[in-house]
Symmetry: C2
Subunit: 345 residues, 2 copies
């Protein structure tokens, strides 16, 4: 359940996102605009809350602004976080740009139960849809100048751009790993650091920056986001192999069937036992998936990943604790982290 | 022949581009870095000056900085334009990002006589190469902060981002036109405005801005770049049908064979005569290309395009004249414009 504050933020985020994307809403590019609104979950078949995603990243950003801001704490009613809503939208647009291109690159036909952009309009159009989302993300971050001095705008844009470079590096590593059979656990962190943690740490870092927090506090927020991202990704990796649907339903979505180089898999490859032998022989079929998952569990892949996830979770929560987030937003931030890490408070 | 000043600028541009792209030159992403250096023309088979392209856009940017800058004129030896070299590189990177994605979208196997990125490494990798070039373009523009106040950086980044949105709109129109047979000349300008003129006008506008020119002068530089882009594109369209190689060599590169919706073609379609009839029947083969080109010329397509090109050229040169560019850079700017417009001074 989202708190009142969270719901207010989510509404503001959605409104801002729609206004940003409306830059394409002109008579000649109406269909182009619709491609973006379809992907964002607002139009077309299956549109609605299930199609938009949870907007975790912009929410994390605004909660970081609000919980790190002294003024917010003192004055209570002033919604300082609203001044930063354009950068929250920017981060969500970056995330969605990467999803649209990712779906083409991975040949994924569905996302959140709906056909992906390239399936509906072909790859050439979908490449351009992703590009446009990225361009609008760049425009959105500059809109900060309405409420912040230019120095802050440049700093926020710099953090976001550096994070985007890490995204492309993580994406490169992920694709280049597909052909390799000599991977070890050491290969995991730079890939995941780029693909997942870079953007989450940008959310919390930029958030604290725009809350006018001191440099030390901004760094603590950044570290919180970074380890939150790692913990979240490792947990996702565990569920991708041993989640309920994976084992019972012979799900084609199992990371084992998809050949994903997740942390448990890299643990198994490094161990170089029975699992590694089977993995190197070629794609795992849906019929085998339950047995191979058990094999990897016996060899220690599951426990290892659980330990890593637990340790990263602890780091994330420790940094958040040190950052000392304030007020209702501070509580909501802790709640959101716990929700993401599937922990009971 | 490039003047001394132009050559000095071109050398500085190439050095800056290499430094910007080197952001990816880390042990884990060495191959990724090489994909970018290959596309930029610095590495791999066929690397060298023919492979890099002419760097017209960054040159136009730096000449605009220098020729619009009062200080430059007065002090002569101070190379104020060097302070703006990172944004010149940024614009060239945006151009190259669009080329890499364009080649995938158009299924083009060669560019400047070399295999395109997607042919060498596959579309998924090439999409990411384009994305990385765009990200580095964003980082490069922020490097302006070393030499300019943050307000100027934000303004320059804003102009560039707006131009990028126009690029994606032009690209959308271009692709959406492929399926249409009801096009008229009115459909040409928004496509070409986005695909060619937006970036050229960003060069001259940002250049004058960073030369600390007055607003009126910045606007004149922008208009110069905009009409230069239109004139240049229309001339390119003419050569794409009636250029020497097109008619003599039964070239597969003819715009008629490729089905390109260029200005002469749209003139012919609007006229709705014999040419339009043949065009709507399906792809034109290499055997027919000389006859169809003659048909379109008889119906007035060539003369019309020549008149438009002449008129846009005149507008460009008039705006440049009003902008009153100064010094050696001013002369070089006029020379570059004349060279692009294939006119004798």
């Amino acid at each position: 359940m989202a708190s009142n504050l969270q719901q207010t933020m989510l509404d503001a985020i959605e409104t801002e996102l729609q206004q940003q994307v409306a830059r394409l809403d002109s008579p000649r590019t109406k269909n182009f605009h619709e491609m973006l609104t379809y992907h964002m979950g607002w139009s077309g078949e299956g549109a609605g809350p299930q199609a938009t995603g949870k907007r975790i990243r912009p929410l994390l950003t605004l909660l970081s602004v609000s919980s790190s801001s002294k003024e917010e704490k003192q004055q209570g009613i002033i919604m300082n976080w609203l001044r930063a809503v354009s950068v929250a939208a920017s981060i969500e647009l970056v995330h969605n740009f990467s999803l649209v291109h990712d779906d083409i690159q991975d040949n994924s036909e569905y996302r959140r139960g709906r056909k992906t952009a390239w399936v509906k309009w072909g790859s050439p159009m979908a490449i351009n849809v992703g590009d446009a989302l990225f361009v609008i993300a760049n425009q959105a971050v500059l809109d900060l100048q309405k409420h912040y001095p230019a120095e802050m705008v440049v700093r926020a844009a710099g953090i976001l751009s550096n994070c985007c470079l890490e995204l492309t590096q993580g994406q490169y590593l992920d694709m280049s790993y597909e052909e390799r059979t000599d991977l070890t656990i050491d290969d995991y962190w730079p890939m995941i650091g780029g693909k997942t943690s870079a953007l989450l740490s940008a959310c919390t870092q930029i958030g604290a920056l725009l809350g006018y927090a001191q440099n030390e506090k901004v760094e603590l927020y950044r570290l919180f986001g970074y380890h939150l991202g790692l913990a979240f990704q490792v947990q996702d990796d565990i569920l991708g192999i041993w989640g309920d649907e994976m084992l019972t339903g012979k799900s084609a979505a199992s990371d084992l069937v998809e050949g994903k180089n997740s942390l448990p898999v890299l643990f198994g490859l490094e161990k170089n036992g029975e699992f590694a032998k089977r993995w190197k022989q070629g794609p795992i079929t849906e019929d085998e998936v339950a047995d191979v998952a058990k094999l990897l569990e016996r060899e220690g892949g599951k426990i290892y990943a659980e330990q890593v996830s637990e340790s990263e979770t602890q780091k994330a929560l420790d940094y958040l604790d040190q950052a000392d987030p304030q007020g209702e937003a501070g509580e909501a931030l802790l709640g959101l982290a716990n929700m993401l890490l599937k922990r009971k408070q």
